[in-house]
């Protein structure tokens, strides 16, 4: 369906949900919905991004298909989210294939490394520190810009002002605990109708794994400028953080993929599978190649492994601005808006 139809469908569902309200105890979407009597396209996009796709409301819905009202909030919201990512994308949405990005990343790294060889974990003998910093600074800067402008568009559409500290704190708690996938401790109804914490747990592995890897890189950068140059010892902060993060990024994506294979097709937007899976694969490969590089950094395979690892990481970075990762950006922004609204409605 074209995007406008999806928004209209989202609005139709919200009108039904708002006159029922049985699901208000489930997640942040329904209390936010109850703040309104009618729904603008911006409201629909906001609520769709607030939805974590846990599907509890679908299984609990007396109006779910085959009922003639055909209420399927998780699926319709998933479709609206996908459209909204394109709409918020700055300067404009570009579809980046994960495989193409990875190939491009590998080609760039092999070209930059040329035929250089090095021993004893001398990474910078293959690709200089300056080159690495230059490549990843440029792309990271671009990603940050895309996200900042996207959130700006999201926020502008909301017509809200900048929230105070307590809303930020609440939103951060919601993001870091993924409270909305825990359904008061029972877990969400994913991949099927039975409650389970598995998705939340594997998401935590992935999310915290990613953050630990980010922390590892940041600490390593600080070390570098402080004069401690890689390779760092096995029991140094960057290696420990990176190893823990890497383990998270092995377990998390595999778990999420396994769940994805088993999930109920009724509640998802299958068109997003390509983006979702390539993101999981790239995260997994990033971690796998990183850990291999760590294990074999003293060996002759180091040069090849470094090229592959950095190539995969670059591929991952190339997919970040318009790929699956953006769900976290707009979900967080929606949680912030929700925290802001709910705090205000209590006063």
């Amino acid at each position: 369906m074209p995007p406008n139809d999806r928004i209209a469908e989202g609005e139709r569902l919200l009108v039904i949900c708002n006159s029922c309200r049985y699901c208000e105890g489930y997640c942040a979407v329904f209390p936010a919905m109850e703040q309104r009597l009618s729904f603008t396209p911006a409201d629909v996009r906001y609520l769709a991004n607030l939805c974590h796709n846990c599907a509890e409301c679908y299984y609990a819905c007396q109006f779910a298909p085959p009922h003639e009202f055909a209420v399927n909030v998780p699926q319709v919201f998933a479709e609206i989210r996908a459209e909204s990512y394109k709409q918020y994308a700055w300067p404009a949405y570009v579809r980046v294939s994960g495989w193409l990005a990875a190939t491009l990343g590998l080609v760039v790294m092999f070209l930059l490394a040329g035929s250089r060889e090095a021993l004893n974990a001398n990474f910078y003998g293959i690709i200089s520190h300056e080159t690495m910093v230059a490549v990843f600074s440029v792309i990271s800067g671009y990603i940050a810009m895309v996200y900042a402008m996207g959130v700006r568009r999201f926020w502008k559409e909301s017509g809200e002002r900048l929230p105070g500290v307590s809303a930020w704190m609440q939103a951060a708690r919601d993001v870091f605990t993924m409270k909305n996938l825990s359904s008061s401790g029972a877990g969400c109804t994913y991949p099927d109708e039975e409650h389970s914490q598995s998705r939340r747990v594997f998401h935590h592995f992935t999310f915290y794994g990613f953050l630990l890897c980010l922390a590892s890189t940041t600490v390593a950068a600080i070390y570098h400028f402080a004069g401690s140059v890689a390779p760092h010892p096995y029991f140094s902060a960057p290696v420990i953080l990176g190893t823990l993060g890497g383990i998270g990024l092995l377990i998390g994506p595999v778990g999420l993929y396994a769940l994805k294979r088993r999930r109920d097709p009724a509640i998802v937007d299958a068109q997003q599978d390509g983006t979702d899976v390539s993101f999981l694969v790239l995260l997994f490969l990033t971690s796998l190649t990183g850990l291999l590089l760590l294990a074999l950094r003293e060996s002759a395979a180091m040069g090849a492994l470094l090229r592959v690892h950095l190539g995969v990481v670059l591929g991952l970075f190339l997919t970040l601005p318009y790929g699956k990762f953006v769900h976290g950006i707009y979900r967080s922004a929606a949680l912030l808006r929700s925290a802001y609204e709910m705090a205000r409605s209590k006063h």
Partner: protein
């Protein structure tokens, strides 16, 4: 292969088919594992019961040797058979199973519509002596019973009613033990936070919990199982007939629990009770409550209880689907404006009492109007003061245009509104309390929340009687045993839920009482059926 005799090939084929069939039979068990790979069966029932297969309640699968012979013989056998698939039925099934009996549930709806009217419920009324995790303050037995006496005007059976009230906290705790989740009451329902425990996600979520529990404990649930006859002699149940997936099938059990609801979706029966007016009724809940078991039990000598005309009926949006429109078709704007009939005239005090207390009389009021239709008219002052309904209001900038858009005589409606506006006395409007805004010298009066209808745009909603459930049922005792004319209590037929709710509520209604009756009597019926099936 060429050398093989055709007969041998045939035999191989048959045994292969047997294996497939066995796998198919066991599929529900295989799939019950959390780590099974469900996409194949996703969205389907536990696979439909294959025709021509003997099934033992709770034990699925048959020795393959007997398969071919059994094709001729179609029978379900179980210690306890429960007819119905809603709250009362599942409470009974789980209780009987916990007592060690094999249990089969016959649900006439397909899996998507399982759960009867419990699908549409939201809460249960619970006695409690102190605040709980989901209930505020206290709600003692005597107050609960007094509330019941008030709404039923004495049409109750005191010892059964008190049994329900006293057992309600135990039933509530038992439900939690089954995995049911409750929530503190939130938006739009604050007035019930003291007396009623709300199911997290509503009644369908509760039903899902029960069905998951039933699956884990090996209760056999058959969907599309429509009971057509029961063999009852001297008050004792012997066997029954049903259409299982459309195929005639016999079922046998040592004890029978009937928890199959009322007859509100049986339009012919409604018409018998209400006359032609019933044709304009809308059925708010399941289309599967046709009262087949109620009729069968009454025809087989069960004592009846309550009046066939008694039912829970509210005024709902006239544009609602004929069946199953549920909660979203309700309209709460009646006390905020005026209500006129098809001639454009008012007929009842819209502001008689607080809406929750008057909600359930308006179905009957509209049913008594010509063509069983009425129209709620409000102005823009009322917008935002009531729960939004699913259908948009009909909107116009003048009363005359609104009347025309609603298909009403414009001049009469204009006069009705003018006469009403002229008699509205000044007051301070507060729709949360019985305020002092009323009319003077108007017939019928509007006693509260009377404000002139003068701020365009104006809005109109058509109203129809929406039947929630019926009260005619079978008489039971405190063991849920069905009373049989001239015999006394049946030794092995038990009733629970809507089919016997008329014992406790013969007219009127208390919000959340139906689920309490279903839970308490469902558990009693399950326990007693297990005893009878020893």
């Amino acid at each position: 292969m060429d050398g093989e005799a055709p007969a041998a090939r045939n035999a191989t084929f048959l045994s292969m088919a047997g294996v497939c069939q066995r796998l198919w039979d066991n599929a529900p068990l295989l799939l019950s594992s959390k780590f099974a790979w469900p996409p194949l069966f996703r969205g389907f029932a536990p696979p439909p019961a294959p025709s021509g297969v003997l099934r033992y309640g709770g034990v699925i699968g048959v020795p393959s040797l007997d398969r071919i012979r059994l094709v001729e013989e179609t029978r379900i056998q179980s210690d306890v058979v429960v007819i119905g698939g809603g709250n009362a039925a599942l409470c009974a099934a789980l209780t009987a199973r916990d007592a060690g009996r094999s249990v089969t549930v016959l649900e006439c709806a397909p899996i998507e519509y399982r759960g009867g009217n419990s699908r549409h419920t939201r809460n249960m009324r619970c006695m409690h002596s102190a605040p709980t995790d989901v209930l505020t303050d206290a709600y003692p037995e005597d107050e609960y019973y007094a509330d019941l006496l008030r709404v039923t005007e004495g049409l109750t059976t005191e010892h059964l009613a008190r049994l329900v009230i006293r057992e309600s906290p135990n039933a509530n705790q038992w439900m939690k033990n089954q995995g049911a989740r409750f929530q503190p009451s939130l938006g739009g329902t604050l007035h019930l936070g003291r007396t009623n425990a709300f199911f997290l996600g509503g009644g369908k979520a509760l039903m899902n919990t029960y069905y998951q529990a039933a699956k884990k404990r090996g209760i056999q649930v058959l969907y599309n199982a429509e009971v057509t006859d029961v063999d009852i002699r001297d008050g004792r149940f012997h066997s029954g007939q049903m259409l299982l997936e459309g195929k005639p099938t016999e079922f046998r059990a040592k004890a029978l629990v009937v928890a199959s609801g009322g007859f509100e979706s049986n339009l012919e029966w409604l018409e018998e009770a209400w006359g032609e007016a019933a044709r304009n009724f809308i059925i708010r809940g399941t289309p599967y409550n046709k009262g087949k078991l109620l009729r069968l039990l009454l025809d087989n000598g069960a004592e009846s209880v309550a009046d066939p005309k008694q039912c829970h009926a509210v005024a709902i949006d006239g544009r609602a689907p004929k069946f199953d429109g549920g909660i979203v078709t309700r309209l709460d704007c009646v006390p905020l404006g005026i209500v006129v009939n098809k001639f454009g005239e008012r007929f009842y005090d819209e502001g008689e009492d607080l809406w929750p207390k008057r909600y359930a009389i308006w179905g009957r009021l509209v049913a008594q109007q010509p063509d069983q239709i009425a129209y709620s008219i409000i102005d823009s002052k009322a917008m935002g003061r009531f729960m939004p309904s699913v259908f948009p209001p009909i909107t116009a900038n003048t009363i005359g245009e609104l009347a025309s858009a609603l298909g009403l005589p414009a001049a009469t409606v204009e006069n009705t509104v003018k006469a009403y506006n002229a008699t509205v006395r000044p007051g301070s409007f507060d729709h949360q309390i019985l305020d002092d805004c009323h009319t003077e010298g108007l017939t019928p009066p509007k006693s509260h929340w009377a404000q002139a209808i003068n701020k365009p745009p104006y809005y109109g909603y058509p109203l129809r009687p929406g039947i929630t459930f019926t009260y005619l049922g079978v008489r039971v005792n405190e063991k849920a045993e069905v009373r049989m004319n001239g015999i006394g209590s049946s030794p092995n037929i038990f009733a629970a839920g809507e089919i016997m709710a008329g014992n406790i509520v013969g007219k009127g209604y208390l919000a959340g009482l139906g689920m309490t009756i279903g839970s308490v009597f469902g558990r009693i019926a399950g326990k007693e059926a297990a005893r009878a099936a020893k």
